[in-house]
Every structure is written in C-alpha cells, then in structure tokens.
C-alpha cells in the first residue's frame, strides 16, 4: 500500500507561511517608515522639487509663446471650457424639464376646468329638464282633475 501526501497541503502550508512572513515584513517596513525624520525630509524634498518643477513649467510657458506651440495648460483650459459648456447644457436641460412640467400641469388644469364646466352645464341642463318634468306633471294633474269634473 502506497500513500503519497497530497501536494495541495504543501502549497497551503507555503501560503500560510507566506502570509505570516508578509505580515512580519510589512510591520517592519511600516515601523521603519513611520518616523518623524522621514516625514520632515519628504516634506522638504517635495517642496524643493515643486519649486524646480514650477520654474521649469514657467520656462516652458515662455518658450511656448515664442515657439507658438500649446502647452499642457492650454489643453487643460480648452478641456475646462468644455466642462463649462456641459454645465450650461445641463442648466438648459433643467430649465426645459421645469418648463415641460409647468406646461403639463397647466394642460392638466385646463382639461380639468373643461370637465368641470361640462359637468356644470350638464347640471344646469338636468335642472331645466327637471323643472319641465315638474311643469308637465302638474299640467297633467290639472288636466286629469278638469276631465274628472266634466265626467
């Protein structure tokens, strides 16, 4: 009988060991970097480099004016104008949708008023027919009475 160990177990053990080692190494690195001196140095270096890069950018701007070529700032300005355009279209769309809402509401009100008017009119008509009915009824009664007397 031959029993061979499953290699999956080796890989799983390797993974677990890797997780442990990774954790230890990362803690070490984080502790080393979490240092006041490093931070001050990084801040100082970033400011110094920023000044140099800014100077370089200004020089490129000056050169672009002479050489008549666009810089990244020019392209950015065009892109910003496009965003402004989009915002204006959005505003217009919003206004339009408000107007459509108002139009729909007034249309609904108008049709409601029309219906109300029709109702009132039909009420009036029904009132008239009612009074005619009453009149006819009393006329009939009167006729019946006079006919009865004659008989």
């Amino acid at each position: 009988m031959e029993i061979k160990e499953n290699p999956d177990n080796y890989y799983e053990t390797l993974r677990l060991m890797g997780v442990q080692k990774e954790k230890e190494l990362n803690t070490l690195i984080r502790e080393a970097l979490n240092n006041d001196e490093w931070i001050k140095e990084a801040s100082l270096q970033s400011n110094t480099t920023a000044k140099m890069v800014k100077q370089m950018q200004e020089s490129m701007e000056a050169l672009s004016a002479l050489g008549n070529f666009p810089t990244k700032r020019d392209v950015a300005n065009v892109a910003k104008m496009q965003v402004q355009l989009e915002e204006k279209i959005d505003q217009l769309e919003e206004k339009l949708s408000k107007m459509v809402k108002i139009c729909k509401a007034s249309k609904r009100k108008k049709s409601k008023d029309k219906k109300d008017k029709k109702k009132k009119h039909s009420k009036k008509e029904s009132g008239k027919s009612e009074s005619i009915d009453k009149l006819m009824h009393s006329l009939n009664e009167g006729m019946n009475q006079t006919h009865g007397k004659r008989k």
Binding site: M1, E2, I3, K4, E5, N6, P7, D8, Y10, Y11, E12, L14, R15, G18, V19, E22, L25, N26, I29, R30, L33, N34, N35, D36, I39, K40, A42, S43, S46, N47, T49, A50, K51, V53, K54, Q57, K72, V75, A76, N77, A79, K80, Q82, V83, E86, E87, D90, E94, S97
Partner: protein, 350 residues
C-alpha cells in the same frame, strides 16, 4: 488499498507555476457585465442606470463609489456582482462613476465632487426614475462623499447606506507619525500637489499599498495553491486586476483631504463647507445604515463608528461584519444585512 494521490515532483511544480503564470499574464475576462445604460455624462464622469427585469421598489438606489479605485469591483462578474444582486432583487440602480481625472481636473476638490457631480447626479437619477425619494449608498471614500452630500442635500434622500466610510480622521489606520505631522503642520505637500495637479494612478496604488501592505506576495501563493480550481482562478484574476487598476487623484481633492479632513477633522467638527454651505453631519435625517468590517486595516471601526452620534437620523443602524475592506463590494449575493434593512424602507410595490 492504494490512495490515488498526486506526488510533489518537479514536473507537477512546473505545471502549476505555468498555470499560475498563464492566469497572471493571460487576456482578462470581461468585467462589468450587468446590463446598463448611460443616463448622464459630465467631464469624465458617467451616471449608469441598471434596470431591473421587474421593478419591485419605488425608491431607487444611487451608488457613490470611491475616488481611488474603479467601481468595476461592484460588478466583477455575473457570479460576484453587488450591482447585479440589487438589480435581481428588483431595485433600480444608478452608479456614479467619476472616471479618471486628468491634469485639467487638478482643481476639482472633494467639495466640487459633492456639489457638481453627486448632487447633480442624484437630481438626474430622480428625474430619470420619476421617483419621489432616493437611497444613497456610499462605498469607502464614496461613503465619506455620500455623508457630506446627505448633509447638504436639498433632494429627498430617504435612506443613506455607508459601507466602510472614513469619517473620523483623528484615528489613523497606520503611519500615525505621518498623520501627526500633517495635523501639526510639520508636513505639507500642497506646493507639490499644485505643481503636479493630479497624482497618477500608479502613485495612488503605491501609496495605498504602503498603508495596507508594502510588500505583497501572499495572494500569488494563494493562486499557486488553488490554481487548479478554475472558479477561484477566474475570480482571482478579476480581483487582482482591480487592485492594481487605480485612478488618478486630483491635487485639490488630496489637499482638501489632508487639510480639512486629516489636519482639522472638519467632517466631525461640522466645519466643512460645500458651496458656502456648512456640511454638518447633524443635518442628516435620512434613515441610516453604517457598515464596518472587522478586519479592515484601511478604514478601521474607530474611523467609522463616531458618525452614529453625529447624525440626527432617528432610524439608524450600525453593523460590524466579518470580513475585510472589500468583502462587501464583490459579494456574490444580496448581502443579508442589506436584505433585512433596505427593502422595507424602499416602498415595495404591492
């Protein structure tokens, strides 16, 4: 009886390594597969609409994702898609994808993202869905933005869900000396940010790795150990691609994060302003669900929980769930803590 087992020899190791290499370098499967349509575009941002097959709730869900990664994590594959799980439950879903900012967007601050993108996006979603109210769901830094928006919202936000949102910046997940230096004004990177305008994606990636895991190889060992499981490999590849695919971060947003949030903790003190309006968390009255993860090294519970005492919401729930920072984003099913909270607050259609 003979047990049939593979032995650990050079050939088997080589074949495993070859499979792992293929998984790492091979063409990527398609991601973001849930059916969607763009309903609004502005600059690089897109508002996506995911229609449900059958609309079961009157209140749609508006998702705000982080500024650091791509929101494709919410729709990695049909088997692990948070968005698909909402859609399958019958929710109308809107996702605001901020896109990748460029040099020209350098002056786009956190406040700008809230007022010019989130607020306008919510308006568009309300109009598109014809709903009377909306649920805003913020994930990670998107949760911070969603909370800021809810504090100034004029729109009818009925429910606010915040998943692992950094709120209280007086606690730092790592590098406490760095945070202390920023707070005390001993470290200042504003000038550098003004010059570069945007932090490129790879810098954001390295920076985040530095906080969470400066050296990272355990995921490759995990791949090696399960390389013969095609389902695991497929998910691993998608997730691995997402973790490396960071988007640039605008200089103004980074400056505001460092100065207003880390240095002055203005979200907690209620001093942060958006369009000259104070975005005090006290203004939040929407039903609130806050989710934190037990093993979240990036945004620990200490940075999240204080929001519960800062809002005015009467209906508020806090959930501490097992898992890490991204566990909730690539869920394979409708998360149970959402299932027991959201549907009854979303006006089910009878």
């Amino acid at each position: 009886m003979e047990k049939e087992n593979k032995s650990l020899d050079i050939k088997s190791i080589e074949s495993r390594v070859a499979l792992a290499r293929e998984a790492i370098n091979g063409p990527l499967p398609e991601m973001g597969v849930t059916k969607r349509e763009a309903v609004w575009k502005k600059n690089k941002a897109t508002l996506w609409y995911y229609p449900p097959a059958e609309k079961k709730y009157r209140i749609p869900v508006f998702i705000v994702y982080s500024l650091i990664n791509k929101p494709v994590i919410l729709d990695l594959s049909p088997e692990s898609s948070m968005i698909a799980s909402f859609v399958n439950e019958g929710f109308q879903v809107y996702l605001l994808d901020f896109g990748a900012p460029g040099f020209e967007d350098g002056d786009l601050s956190i406040s700008g993202y809230v007022s010019d993108y989130i607020q306008k996006g919510v308006k568009k979603a309300l109009r598109h869905s014809r709903a009377k109210e909306i649920t805003v769901y913020g994930v990670c830094l998107g949760g911070t933005l969603a909370a800021m928006y809810a504090a100034i919202a004029e729109e009818p936000v009925k429910n606010l869900i915040l998943s692992t949102p950094p709120i209280d910046f007086s606690h730092s997940p790592a590098f406490d000396e760095w945070s202390k230096a920023i707070r005390e004004g001993n470290a200042d990177f504003d000038e550098w940010l003004d010059v570069t305008q945007t932090l490129p994606g790879f810098v954001v990636n390295r920076g985040l790795n530095l906080v969470t895991s400066p050296i990272h190889f355990s995921s490759y060992l995990a791949l090696l150990s399960r390389v013969e499981d095609p389902k695991y490999v497929d998910k691993w590849r998608r997730f691995n691609h997402w973790t490396r695919d960071h988007v640039p971060f605008t200089g103004a947003a980074m400056k505001q994060m460092m100065n207003d949030l880390v240095r002055k903790n203005k979200l907690v003190t209620g001093e942060i302003k958006i369009n000259k309006k104070k975005a005090s968390l006290k203004n939040i009255q929407a039903n609130l669900l806050v989710i934190a993860a037990e093993n979240d090294f990036l945004v620990p519970e200490k940075m999240i929980k204080p929001i519960m005492k800062l809002v005015s919401s009467r209906d508020k729930t806090y959930k501490l769930i097992k898992g890490g920072h991204t566990s909730f984003s690539n869920a394979s099913m409708f998360p149970p803590y959402i299932a027991e909270w959201l549907p009854e607050r979303s006006e089910p259609r009878s």
